[in-house]
């Protein structure tokens, strides 16, 4: 093929999306368009899909009930969702498209701190309100934004419970901190290190690893050499699970293991004995008993979720659902779908849902940062020979007593 033929073919291919994309049109008068991306493919797929299930369930329930009540009218909710492939560059393109071509009136953030930071740049640039249900890192909310609202506990508090409980069990614990070299994990662990030092714990290792690490063998040997008896760290899904398995296989003899994110998924139990005793900070667990001011109770949410998807709800799904619930409440309270009026209601909101408390900072430097929601500490324990995740802290939410030390019972 000659060069000009190649260029002609490339031009046709490049132009194809223009012709196959449906022409953009304004939303129907009685419809609210909400845009978001989902990581249907790529490394963030598991948690992102879980989050999306929660958001989808909220939409379906709202529409089945006739829509969101705005003054005398009811608005049906229409979603525009694209696959961001777990890639920041795609998020940037797609949120621009959601606003300019799909005319999304409100936005939900993507999953993960990194992707949320990228989406936030676009949403703020266009003045669209975005509810964040999967981005915990604080930095995104410390840039003087006006339309971001975080529904989940920020990264700095992820391991606060773990440090507090560990210090109460062993005030002189030697802690190894080994975590993924990504924005979320680094933010969580920097805060955890400060808390550990304040609690008088001895941090004997503080290192990050590449997210592409496949073998943690030498790292586990390093932990053993440091005489650490407690471990805090991990990152996301595969790396956290691999760390847990290798620490168990290599008999690291740790009395305490806290990992980020990975133990929050039901599949973590497939690690078998390596999962036993592992703790994790969780944004929501069914055992929590909040009395909601509006929306379902935790039990009602969990049952409806199971009935719809035939799987147990995890905290990512609950985060997604509650994001919709809060936005709906703000719109109904505002009696308008005007961005500024809805944002004003979210700024003033101080409420409790099945997911816990919601209140955001309103000072310009931290606007939208979640300040009321608290995480719980969950631990994988054995019940009738089966591994189950129990809430072990705080006392008012706990469903089982903490197992400590774990090395004597693994």
């Amino acid at each position: 093929m000659k060069a000009h033929h190649l260029f002609a073919a490339a031009a046709v291919l490049a132009a194809a999306p223009i012709f196959v994309t449906a022409p953009a049109r304004a939303a129907d008068a009685d419809t609210i368009v909400i845009g978001m991306t989902e990581s249907q493919t790529g490394a963030l797929n598991v948690d992102s899909v879980a989050q999306q299930r929660g958001i989808d369930m909220w939409r379906d329930e709202v529409n089945a009930a006739g829509g969101i009540k705005v003054g005398d009218k009811h608005y049906k909710v229409k979603f525009v969702v694209y696959d961001d492939q777990s890639v920041g560059g795609r998020v940037q393109q797609l949120y621009t498209r959601l606003i300019n071509q799909d005319h999304a009136q409100f936005l939900f953030g993507p999953y993960s701190s990194g992707l949320t930071a990228t989406a936030a740049v676009i949403s703020e640039q266009y003045g669209r309100l975005m509810v964040i249900t999967g981005g915990a890192e604080e930095k995104t909310l410390e840039l003087g934004n006006k339309y971001l609202f975080q529904a989940i506990t920020p990264a700095g508090s992820y391991l606060a419970g773990a440090v507090q409980v560990l210090a109460s069990k062993n005030p002189h614990a030697k802690v190894a901190m080994v975590y993924s070299d990504d924005p979320f994990s680094k933010a969580v662990m920097a805060a955890a290190k400060d808390l550990a030092k304040k609690a008088g714990l001895d941090v004997v290792i503080d290192e990050s690893y590449s997210p592409s690490t496949t073998d943690f063998g030498p790292i586990v040997n390093k932990i053993i050499s440091s005489n650490a008896d407690a471990f805090l760290g991990g990152g996301h899904y595969a790396d956290g699970a691999t760390l847990a398995r290798q620490m168990y296989d290599q008999k690291a003899n740790l009395k305490w293991v806290s990992l980020l994110v990975a133990p929050g998924d039901a599949k973590f139990a497939s690690l078998g004995p390596a999962a036993f005793g592992v703790t994790t900070g969780s944004q929501w667990e069914l055992a929590e008993k909040f009395t909601p001011q509006f929306g379902p109770t935790g039990a009602q949410f969990a049952k409806a979720f199971f009935d719809k998807y035939k799987i147990e709800a995890d905290y990512h799904s609950a985060s997604g659902y509650v994001g919709g619930l809060l936005l709906q409440h703000a719109i109904e309270q505002a009696g308008s779908i005007d961005t500024d009026k809805v944002a004003a209601k979210l700024n003033a909101m101080d409420v409790t849902t099945f997911y816990g408390k919601f209140k955001v900072a309103t000072d310009p430097k931290h606007h939208g940062l979640q300040v009321a929601h608290k995480m719980v500490l969950a631990q994988w324990q054995r019940q009738n020979g089966k591994l189950v995740r129990e809430v072990v802290w705080p006392d008012e939410a706990k469903s089982a007593n903490l197992v400590y030390p774990i090395n004597s019972t693994q």
């Binding site: 598991v46 290192e207 590449s210 030498p218 040997n221 008999k251």
Partner: protein, 288 residues
Amino acid sequence: MLGFIASVIDGVLVGLVYGLAAMGITLIWGVMDVINLTHGTMIVAGMFALYLLTSAFGISPYVTLLPALAGGFVVGVALYWIAVHRMVGRPPLMSLLSTFSVNLVLIGVATGVWGTVLFNVEVSVPGLTLGRYTFPGVHIVAAVLAAVIAAGLYFFLRRTRLGKAVRAVANNREAAELVGVPTTQVLSVAFGFGVSLACVSGVLIGTLFPFTILTGDSYLLKSFIVTVLGGFGNPVGALIGGLALGVLEGAVTPFVPVSWTLVIEFVLFVLVLIAFPGGVFMRRSRAL
């Protein structure tokens, strides 16, 4: 000191598996100058064969090596005819794009079926201890099996008629054709063996670590480093390259922050490319 020794031994054990994982990609490159970008996904295919067969039939994880070997070969031959055959002898970019596209399709379909959820295969083999350090039995078995399979490949290439035909095609395709070697069939067989090796290494890696559908990317990257260390198109060199990489990871980790390990690996990668453009070991024309 004991910690350092333990890390180096751990590096040797995992390095042998890295070497086996890289053998497939280097065999294919050596024979037909094709960089197979489906290699990582084929490693994951081996992991899934392990998971599905052990969970469905309850058989020993190591027994699944045989179906993975055979299945990998069949898939490899099919892949050759679908995506590679027309690209052989053309600029390397063509086969690179072709296998890249097939890889995207495979990953997309597999993500649609399984998502990127975690899979773990529990394998119980007693380990060895050195002071406070433990070498899991599965690591020892995987290393031994990787060495045995590598020796088998060496024997196949050196002592069998088909292996000699593969080497002949690698050295000079036209000359091989002149003496009656059916080169197209040999190429498809070589591609089949390359994929087969990827699947088999996937089975062994699957016994060591949990995995997802996307795990293959990391091993593809490692395979490139191993290939550069061991010499392009040199399967035996790949085993030595894998060992070198494993030992390097083990020896460096006790002394530097772990985030530096990858940096050091890639610095070495670049240095080797500059100092030994054909790899540290023998040149490709004499490699197979």
